[in-house]
């Protein structure tokens, strides 16, 4: 089934189920007030949500679905841990900046802890303080989990996946290197992330969900122009491995979001899901980057698309970056 969160006076928004074609929705607040409470009581509420989803497809309770009214599926998640599971991306970065790769990069995923208290909706303006910070998008996929015990195996961890989501993990590239050198990791370099409107149960993807990976291309457009469409199947670590990595020394609360990191393919014809990677390719080819980071007023669109049917199961992120004003 497909779920979404409508903005409301409550910071967690209101839960709706959404039809497969994203045309209609049905209010689900009689079952769970919001997605956070739904994920916390998943075994109790999922059957009723599923039944409502079935009724919606039979034409009952249907209202028009407008993604412009959506918040992030979880506007406030208990936790956000973002991996870097497409090693091609890291390898390019290392090559361009002459960084020694970590000796265990093939076996231990990179992952940072991000902020999860203020996730942005699919069409929310992204307010940032300065173009000089090197504003960049990062298209990726994510998994929302149920409770995960400490030291869960990758198989156990994969079994805890409740919903899949599509994310734009905003990055401020000028701030990243200092925070990486400090050893304390990203903080200012990672402002609030944005989410496509739909959170879906993995079965909705059919064949495109296998091996703990989303086997779809993520189409990225910047200011209306094609930027890249790398394929999610190329993850070097699946979501099972990523979730288990996060749970190595702690239990994870229901509603924790685990990210794949920016989608990146060795096939360069696929293009990139972030500007930094294109710049790195330019450095490798021309000795210097040619593409600048984003300017205020720029827009970005991202949607995962099924090549066979043309479906965009998560809906679309379509945002503008604007200057934050006090």
């Amino acid at each position: 089934m497909k779920l979404a969160t409508l903005r409301s006076e409550h910071p967690d928004g209101r839960l709706v189920v959404v039809s497969r074609d994203l045309a209609t929705m049905a209010d689900a607040t009689a079952i769970a007030a919001n997605l956070r409470t739904a994920v916390e009581a998943w075994d109790d509420v999922a059957p009723a949500l599923q039944a409502l989803h079935t009724e919606l497809h039979a034409g009952r309770h249907a209202q028009p679905f407008d993604p412009a009214l959506c918040a992030a599926p979880l506007p406030r998640a208990p936790q956000w841990c973002d991996g870097s599971a497409f090693l091609n991306h890291g390898r390019l970065m290392e090559k361009a900046f002459d960084i020694e790769p970590a000796p265990d990069a093939q076996t231990v995923p990179l992952m940072y802890q991000g902020a999860s208290d203020d996730f942005l909706g699919p069409q929310a303006d992204v307010l940032l303080p300065s173009e000089a910070d090197g504003i960049d998008f990062e298209g990726e996929f994510g998994a929302i989990v149920g409770p995960v015990p400490m030291a869960a195996t990758p198989a156990q961890a994969l079994g805890a996946v409740r919903l899949l989501v599509q994310i734009n993990d905003w990055s401020l590239r000028a701030l990243g290197p200092r925070e990486m050198r400090s050893g304390f990791g990203f903080l200012q370099a990672k402002p609030s992330s944005s989410f496509a409107p739909i959170a879906l149960t993995p079965d909705e993807l059919g064949e495109a969900w296998r091996d703990g990976r989303v086997h779809l291309r993520l189409q990225v457009r910047w200011n209306g122009e094609h930027f890249g469409a790398p394929h999610g199947g190329e993850m070097d670590f699946g979501f099972g491995e990523l979730i288990a990595h996060a749970a190595r020394t702690r239990r994870l609360s229901a509603g924790t979001v685990i990210g794949s990191g920016t989608v990146s393919n060795t096939d360069r014809a696929a293009g990139s899901a972030c500007i930094a990677e294109r710049r790195v390719l330019e450095i490798l080819e021309h000795g210097a980057p040619r593409t600048a980071f984003m300017r205020f007023g720029d827009s970005v669109q991202m949607q995962a698309q099924c090549e066979r049917t043309g479906d965009t199961p998560f809906g679309r992120i379509a945002q503008r970056v604007l200057q934050w004003q006090p």
Copy 2:
């Protein structure tokens, strides 16, 4: 006023106000169900909580207060950003491990993003997977803020402090260096943090709260023996600077917890608030560390104490470390 959270069936627990001497408490759930909702609606609920606190001291509504029944003041906080504001600690680490200090270490605080979905109460057993991970405590202070706008100044940020807390930021030292080298920062190296029972408004500390710093010694005992009592006044960055650092590129939700980092003094007679620092002093003195990290079954106690009155305004953290069992 002083507030605490009693464990209950609800993951956010139940709010109580606590007397200054920590002897009695009064149920505050008629005003706010839990501290999280109280902090989110602070201007509306603080006067009523204050009135209840006054009534409690007049002997009304009083029940005995038992810190053993407490959860962390915010068992689930929206965000946890931990600074490293006592530069003495970082300098010792750099000296012992021959690390080049960051060129801007005096002007830009170090801060990492931690997990905030599962904070532990003052007497909760700390379950961890392996002694080989290098189990260490870190005694520190923290501030719980109201909403902080993006790009707040340190003065604005300091004005957003609602409550002060005392924290044991558990660390797994064997996992830290790899995560620091990766540039992505701490994740597995920072399991759930623990909190002393009391969250207090800054006025409760009187003179001991000034310049955005908690001017109290933090007494640390390990397995019942004195380990250190460094003074919180020696912070090189105050909480105003730390909060402003966290808010540089994002707004902070009400209930965000900002940590000082382990309390550390240049006066070595004060002792340390974490084992790692003692080991570093041993390396500098003897060429090798002599103190091992914690073993399962070990206990740690931490309390901030007023040297003049002997008061322990936050109550006490008193925990054992045990092996996590599936």
